[in-house]
């Protein structure tokens, strides 16, 4: 009677969490991913401390220079410090990824559960909607939107959100539907548990994990879309620095200096690699069923 396990339950869960965290750290891909992701966050959040120059400060005499002690990654045609611009560019990427994915996650969770647990016609309608959105060639549609609305960061965000919601919503819907017919959900219903409690206490805990893993693996896609649109001059507006816009400026100068193109590409690759590694390591550890690939 003395050892009533009211407090040992969370303890056990915590212990299991620790074991998994240790497995993540022992996995070199997971470790690399974690380090790269932390670097990405830190450099974006502490950009003013990490950057060596004001990203907008012109240094005309030193324009188009290669890497020097003063300008670690060289300068552009206006003499702005490429390294500092790249660091500040990370902020745009982080902003788009963080806002875009969290909004999509919330909407995806809600819509997916609605489709999975709601009436049949609603499910069919939402499913059709998801399929239609997924069936649009994203970039091409984005171009059409930009043609009318003109480039802006908000438009990039809207595109990111609209195109990523169906992925989450479908995942949640599939999981919810599968769960809806499992015996344990039937058992909850037989007990008289209401739909809200079923969704909150018995469905959400089972879909939230895979969703976060999918979200981690979606960050590269989102960052790439932002960089891609900005590269086309259809994303952030000058003079804001984004990896895409730096790449664009560098592309136009590619015959004069290779440095901007290299300097803005490297963090882009490291970020996508980092999130991919981390996402896959998390998936392998927490939910091996999601995919047997590495």
């Amino acid at each position: 009677m003395s050892a009533i396990p009211s407090d040992s339950a969370p303890a056990r869960r915590e212990a299991e969490g620790w074991i998994k965290l240790r497995r993540l750290l022992a996995n070199w891909q997971g470790m690399t991913g974690l380090v790269l992701v932390l670097l990405f966050f830190a450099s974006a959040i502490f950009a003013p401390l990490v950057a060596t120059h004001d990203p907008f400060a012109l240094d005309i005499p030193a324009r188009l220079s290669g890497p020097t002690l003063e300008h670690w990654a060289g300068t552009d045609q206006l003499g702005r410090d490429t390294y500092s611009r790249v660091i500040y560019g990370g902020r745009v990427a982080l902003q788009v990824a963080a806002i875009g994915i969290s909004v999509s996650l919330v909407f995806g969770l809600l819509l997916g559960m609605l489709a999975g647990f709601g009436p049949r016609w609603l499910d069919n309608f939402l499913l059709l909607l998801f399929d239609v959105v997924r069936s649009f060639p994203t970039i091409v549609m984005a171009l059409a939107a930009v043609a009318l609305l003109g480039p802006s960061l908000n438009l990039v965000l809207a595109i990111v959100i609209v195109t990523t919601i169906p992925g989450y919503a479908r995942l949640v819907r599939t999981a919810t539907l599968a769960l809806k017919n499992t015996e344990f959900i039937l058992a909850e219903r037989a007990l008289g548990v209401g739909t809200a409690r079923i969704l909150w206490r018995h469905v959400t805990p089972n879909v939230i994990g895979p969703m976060f893993i999918l979200a981690a693996m979606d960050v590269p896609v989102v960052v790439t879309v932002e960089a891609g649109l900005s590269f086309l001059g259809l994303g952030v507006l000058p003079p804001t620095a984004s990896w895409g816009s730096i790449l664009n400026e560098g592309y136009l100068l590619i015959r004069e200096t290779p440095w901007p193109v290299v300097a803005a590409g490297v963090p882009l690759v490291l970020t996508t690699l980092g999130f991919t590694f981390l996402g896959e390591a998390l998936r392998d550890i927490f939910d091996p069923r999601l995919g047997k690939g590495r």
Binding site: I4, G194, N206
Partner: protein, 682 residues
């Protein structure tokens, strides 16, 4: 290609000899020593049965033989001689020649063991690639083999794909594949476990016939003592990775000499012919195979254990003429063996249920159908039905305090009936009253307060528990939903755990950390938490080993007498339910075809289908083998119900009347309801 028919079995002439076989599986939490020094012989031309519960390592033996252990498994010692050659030393080519050509395999689940994207013809040709014959000859041979195992119209059907075959046909075809190359040895891994009772009897019969005809040697792995007793000449009993008893089947069943074998036979509900309310069990649990005991493996659960059993591993001692057992009791002085579990005490007096008591639950003309096609398909194929009837015109009463056993094969609608009674499945017509109150048509909000009085236990013990909740929050959930603020939660949880004999330290666990029996207890606790009047239990013993089944049923029985519960027990397992039921209802294709007193039905079935079910139970007694298969064929699809009596195509007594007209429900002299034109009793 193959040898001439072999002469009669001679002593010492073994096709397979396994010596000191040990297998270890590497797992995240350390190596599991699944087999330890296993020795067994398979005499040429005989059928050997390997029996054991889950964790006994019985399947591991055959996968080790075929060198198809899972990737984390490895043979760590011993040899497996086949025709005098060690299979463990074969190179890739020799191994391939052994598999398929010298040894054919019949798999447990024909649904997953046949590749879905290839036709049977292609699959047969793939197996016969090494045969020196023309394509036409190979096809002719495959067709002949399919005909031999009882596939009607094999010339056409061989071109079909697995999903176009029914379960029983698939398993028959699987047997044809195993026999295609006329192997010396046929290995069958739980060949009937995925099949229904009537199909099981047919497959047992077929295997026995084929063994005689082809003079094959067979190894049958099964958890089902009845199957082994029916089919095998020799038996090997395994427990926790060791052989505990082996020898001639008659001798072992007549005089089981290892306490485990004895207990296992006692636990088999099919063996006990008298209806008892309390089933024998084997207390305790399987030892941890990461650290297998140095002494006797069964010592912790053995009622006869003495000092030596804890110190020294017993050798295989001679128990009887033609059989040996690994028990110290056989070494030297031979003490008297008595039944393993305490003899079932005489049942407490069951309160007689008076005929005129108002029923707790009354089901009248209940009908349920499922939509199977969407509107688009319906529009395109106007001739096709868009829904199929799962339940047709079902009526039954449950009187307070009684236990009704609802029995049927897959597709009989028994699970749907249970769910429809609780409003979990929408009924299209009919009525269900609970304490006089109509349930059909009530909204979920109106049903909710009633759910305190009607609980359900689901089939899968672990799968019916929400995976991310602790046992404690699971068993307290009924209170959270219906009676929030019901006092000290910790005390409540402990009280419920004690009530179902669930160790208290399991309260902090998650469902996947429980054994099947423990999870089932959690399910019972949840069902009982609010002290309901009615419990509908869907396959309460499914997925549990024989030794644990009795445990759960005895618990349910005890709680019934303590709390005055009414049970509806849904099961495909007739021998189990009949021991705990007052009355039985037999379902076929969504109708109740016979209903009445359990003992009477079991002793003298009135409907030919009930008779087939009763006769279909393989009895764990090799002296009482059945000569005939009582019914042919399989349960027809509910989407295409036969004309007239729906059992007519399989019924040995069917007449033109049966083929034309659905029999009405009639009541026989002993108060039994039956739906047959020609009941077998008056």
């Amino acid at each position: 290609m193959m040898d001439a028919p072999r002469p009669d079995h001679q002593l010492g002439d073994n096709l397979v000899e396994i010596r000191d076989l040990s297998v270890t599986f590497e797992t995240g939490r350390g190596p599991v020593r699944a087999l330890r020094n296993v020795n067994l012989d398979v005499p040429r031309g005989r059928i050997l049965g390997i029996v054991g519960e889950s964790g006994s390592g019985k399947s591991t033996v055959i996968w080790a033989m075929l060198r198809l252990l899972a990737e984390n498994g490895a043979v760590t010692g011993g040899r497996i001689d086949f025709n005098g050659r060690d299979l463990l030393q074969l190179d890739a080519d020799a191994l391939r020649a052994f598999r398929g050509a010298q040894a054919g395999v019949v798999f447990q689940d024909p649904m997953t063991s046949q590749i879905p994207v290839k036709s049977y013809l292609q699959q047969f040709l793939d197996i016969a690639y090494r045969q020196k014959a023309s394509r036409a000859e190979k096809i002719a041979h495959a067709i002949a083999m399919m005909r031999r195992v009882g596939i009607p119209d094999p010339e056409q059907r061989i071109a079909q794909f697995p999903h176009q075959f029914s379960g029983g046909m698939r398993q028959r075809t699987g047997i044809a594949m195993a026999l295609l190359m006329h192997p010396d040895l046929v290995i069958a891994d739980e060949p009937t476990t995925a099949l229904d009772v009537t199909m099981e009897a047919q497959v047992i019969h077929l295997l026995r016939e084929l063994q005689r005809e082809f003079q094959t040697t067979m190894m049958i792995v099964s958890h089902n003592l009845g199957l082994v007793a029916e089919l095998c000449d020799e038996i090997v009993v395994m427990y926790a990775g060791e052989v505990v008893e082996r020898g001639d089947i008659q001798s072992v069943f007549a005089n089981p000499s290892h306490p485990y074998t004895r207990a296992l036979i006692d636990c088999d509900p099919a063996r006990v012919l008298e209806r008892t309310r309390i089933l024998p069990t084997i207390p305790g649990e399987l030892p941890n195979l990461r650290h297998p005991p140095r002494a006797c493996v069964f010592v912790d659960r053995c009622p006869h254990a003495f000092a030596r059993c804890r110190e020294e591993k017993p050798r295989l001692n001679k128990a009887d003429e033609g059989h040996v057992a690994a028990c110290h009791l056989l070494d030297g002085v031979r003490p008297v063996m008595h039944a393993a579990a305490p003899a079932p005490a005489q049942d407490e007096v069951v309160p007689a249920i008076a005929g005129d008591v108002a029923p707790l639950v009354a089901v009248r003309n209940l009908a349920v159908s499922f939509q199977v096609r969407g509107p688009v398909a319906a529009l395109l194929n106007p001739g096709l039905k868009t829904s199929i009837d799962i339940l047709v015109d079902v009526s039954l009463d449950l009187k307070p305090g009684e236990t009704l056993g609802l029995v049927g094969e897959s597709g009989s609608g028994k699970t749907t009936l249970g769910r429809a009674m609780l409003g979990l499945v929408k009924a299209q017509a009919g009525s269900v009253t609970f304490k006089g109150r109509e349930l059909i048509g009530l909204g979920e909000g109106e049903l909710r307060p009633l759910r305190q009085n009607m609980a359900m236990m689901f089939q899968d013990p672990i799968g019916s528990l929400s995976p991310r909740q602790t046992v404690k929050s699971l068993i307290l959930e009924p209170f959270d939903v219906h009676r929030p603020a019901s006092g000290n939660r910790d005390a409540l949880a402990v009280r419920l755990a004690d009530m179902v004999n669930l160790p208290r330290d399991l309260l902090a666990r998650y469902p996947h950390q429980l054994s099947g029996g423990q999870a089932r207890r959690v399910g019972v606790a949840r069902a009982l938490a609010l002290e309901p009047d009615l419990i509908i239990a869907d396959e309460p013993t499914a997925g549990l080993d024989v030794s644990v089944q009795g445990d759960v049923l005895n618990l349910m029985r005890r709680l019934q007498t303590e709390h005055g519960l009414t049970y509806l027990i849904i099961s495909h397992n007739l021998p189990v339910v009949r021991h705990i039921s007052d009355r039985l209802a037999i379902m076929y294709l969504g109708r109740i075809i016979e209903m009445g007193d359990a003992t009477a039905i079991f002793a003298r079935p009135a409907h030919p289908y009930t008779r087939a079910l009763v006769d279909g139970i393989p009895r764990p007694d090799p002296t009482q083998r059945r000569r005939l298969v009582s019914i042919e064929g399989e349960v027809p699809s509910i989407a295409r119900r036969p004309q007239g009596c729906e059992f007519n195509a399989r019924c040995p007594h069917a007449t033109d009347l049966c083929r034309a007209e659905m029999p009405a429900q009639q009541t026989l002299g002993d108060g039994r309801m039956v739906r047959c034109h020609y009941p077998l009793i008056d």
